[in-house]
Amino acid sequence: MIERKKRDLGGTVINIFALLLVLSYAVPYVYLLMTALKPAADVQQIPPSFFPNRITLENFRTVLATPSLPAAFANSLLVAVLTTVLSLVLAVPAAYVATQYRRSFTTFFLLFALVTRMVPAVSLGVPLFTLLKSIGLLDTTLGLVLAHTSTAVPLALLLMAAFFEGLPKELEEAARMDGCTRFQAFVKIILPVMRSGIAVTALFSFIASWNEFLYALLLTSEKGKTAPIVIAEYNSVYGLAWGPMTAAAVLYSLPVILITLLLQKQIIGGLTFGAVKG
């Protein structure tokens, strides 16, 4: 009886802790949402108020009437999807080879991927600009996809390498004994097993590209412009339009939230992959 009470108390404490943790993540987003729902005159109220005195959708109407935003949203989506696909196509097989056929150079290869993540994006902006200009890909979706992929691949590689580390070598050996080639074993056996890990990697690659600002600013002008740039335009030297900016940010966050909810099962599976191995 005492043991059960102890367990209940422990569970309550953990639940409270989890709730506090969730709140610490959620409060900024909820504040963003509350600001988006406030009338223009109340957005920068002094003293500030967390909840709106009056709920209005005028900020959302302003955002939806911004002519450049629909095209920018479409560009963001296209760039993020293509970057994710390209990153996975390159990083998944590379990570598999680097972890399953380990040699000294494969370790160096993974370490090098880590090093590329340490280079500040701003220092690569000018070389990328020059490179894309020389091949005529400035202000194009493809150009931005290539730039984003250059940073997404190392991330995907490191994530996938971590997932592949937990994969038993016997799986491929069994497939080979059943008559599969290495490629067939990889495609038919390994990839389905790694579904959750790939989902997590895809989500992280998507988010990285979806929210990227600096390369989008430097490498696009009008045609290839993505939504983060248009959203930032609400902040001008003549004022910061908090209402429309937060409304646009809420709308912009919806696809990521939706994808995360859709992939929830795979993500949890991926994040716990290898935890109960053996």
């Binding site: 600009f129 020059t130 200009k133 002008s221 740039i229 930032a232 001008s236 003549y238």
Partner: protein, 419 residues
């Protein structure tokens, strides 16, 4: 002969095609594009040269232009840049001295011309200009009871403030507890502690030959005018208690909102805001505007001007120059855009007297005032502000430090930056 004719014809066709193919790419901040869109459309109609705008956020103009200049191959033929970047970019911009004929220059306030020059050469042409002016609540300033009470207390008529003393008196007069709970809930004005430009305007009003640095880049932040202006700037907060207390949290946006929410009786603010009072604001239809207040040296403001410049890497420099000159000639076309700003005196004057543009006269008066001048034209300007000037203003606003000491410290920091 036939061959010569054919060659000539082909050359003619090619050169004609090249002329028609000419287009201009302009880098501009959101809002600035609207000010130039109408003139660009007319320019295209008259010259056949297409104008494409690349609109980016405020800081994006600086970042994008910097990156393109660093790469040595800019995509832009014209960029509209904030005056504070003129010195930083000057070495990478085309000289535009030949545009500044006496007739051309005569249409700009001297301060705008002065800011257009770096190292003795014109590197930019004003595209639109702004300055802080005084905004006040007409319903309060025209109220008979308020007028009588003010006259009884201060011995002169209540009117839009014209000098430092009137500013302080009126701010004190209107600061009050309106709901009787014993706490002040309505203030005469605000003090901006998040930026230092407003204080700089007072420095000029006090008679300083420049702000922070003089013409030879000597540090003058500790001169008598800077000290006098700092003491005046902090007085409403430290002595009069006529502004909301959280001064260091008050930036332009907050100051504007305090006014729009009906919590202050007057503010110093950029003139363009006159036409931007929200429809649901408590003060809508009750806003008056006057020139910036005067100190010993008279009225003075810090111009907030944007300049059209041509990067030295631009592909179509001649067409770019043509557009810039055309934009000046038809400068008034930008006034109908949401920000409603121009740069030339003639553009502003063409709207004088029109209902809804009552702010232009005070703006022109402030821009043209002899003491009005720009911020230091120095490539380290932003660093100087961030590391020395703003910290000094904020320290003074703590009301604990002596203005002399604060400015001496700032001087040392600036000298370190410059050396």
């Amino acid at each position: 002969m036939k061959r010569l004719l054919a060659t000539s014809a082909i050359t003619l066709v090619i050169s004609a095609a090249a002329a028609h193919a000419e287009s201009l790419n302009i880098l501009v901040e959101g809002g600035g594009e609207m000010l130039q869109k109408a003139v660009a459309a007319q320019f295209t109609k008259e010259t056949g040269i297409d104008v494409n705008f690349t609109v980016v956020p405020y800081q994006g103009v600086y970042d994008k232009l910097s990156a393109e200049i660093a790469s040595g191959q800019s995509n832009f033929d014209v960029a509209s840049i904030d005056v504070v970047w003129n010195a930083k970019f000057a070495a990478h911009l085309e000289r535009l001295d030949d545009l500044f004929t006496p007739e051309f220059s005569a249409d700009f306030s001297p301060a705008l011309l002065s800011d257009a020059k770096v190292g003795g050469h014109y590197i930019g042409v004003p595209a639109w200009a702004n300055a802080e002016v005084v905004f006040y609540r007409t319903d309060l300033f025209e109220n008979a009871d308020e007028k009588a009470a003010f006259k009884t207390k201060y011995g002169y008529e209540l009117a839009p403030p014209a000098n430092w003393q009137q500013w302080r008196d009126i701010a004190k007069f209107f600061t009050r507890d309106t709901d009787g709970d014993g706490k002040t809930d309505f203030w005469g004005t605000d003090t901006i502690g998040a930026y230092s430009e407003e204080w700089m305007a007072h420095v000029l009003q006090a008679g300083s030959p420049g702000v922070v640095l003089d013409a030879e880049n000597n540090v003058i932040i500790d001169n008598a005018a800077h000290k006098e202006a700092l003491e005046f700037y902090i007085a409403p907060h430290c002595q009069d208690k006529s502004v909301p207390e959280n001064v260091t949290e008050i930036g332009w946006g907050e100051a504007q909102n305090l006014f729009y929410q009906g919590k202050t009786a007057m503010m110093k603010f950029w003139a363009h805001a006159y036409r931007m009072t929200p429809a649901d604001s408590k003060v809508n239809g009750k806003v008056g505007v006057a020139p910036m207040i005067a100190g010993k040296a008279g009225i003075a403001g810090i111009p907030g001007t944007w300049y059209n410049v041509i990067p030295s890497t631009a592909a179509n420099k001649d067409a770019a120059k043509k557009f810039i000159a055309y934009a000046v000639k038809h400068n008034a076309m930008g006034i109908e855009a949401p920000l409603g700003l121009a740069a030339t005196n003639s553009a502003y004057e063409s709207y004088a007297g029109k209902p809804g543009y009552e702010h232009f006269e005070p703006l022109l008066k402030t821009l043209a005032a002899p003491a009005t001048r720009g911020r230091p034209m120095h490539e380290h300007y932003q660093e100087i502000v961030d590391e020395a000037v703003l910290p000094a203003v904020q320290k003074a606003l703590s009301c604990e430090d002596d203005a002399d000491e604060v400015l001496s410290e700032a001087k040392e920091t600036i000298e370190d930056i410059l050396n």
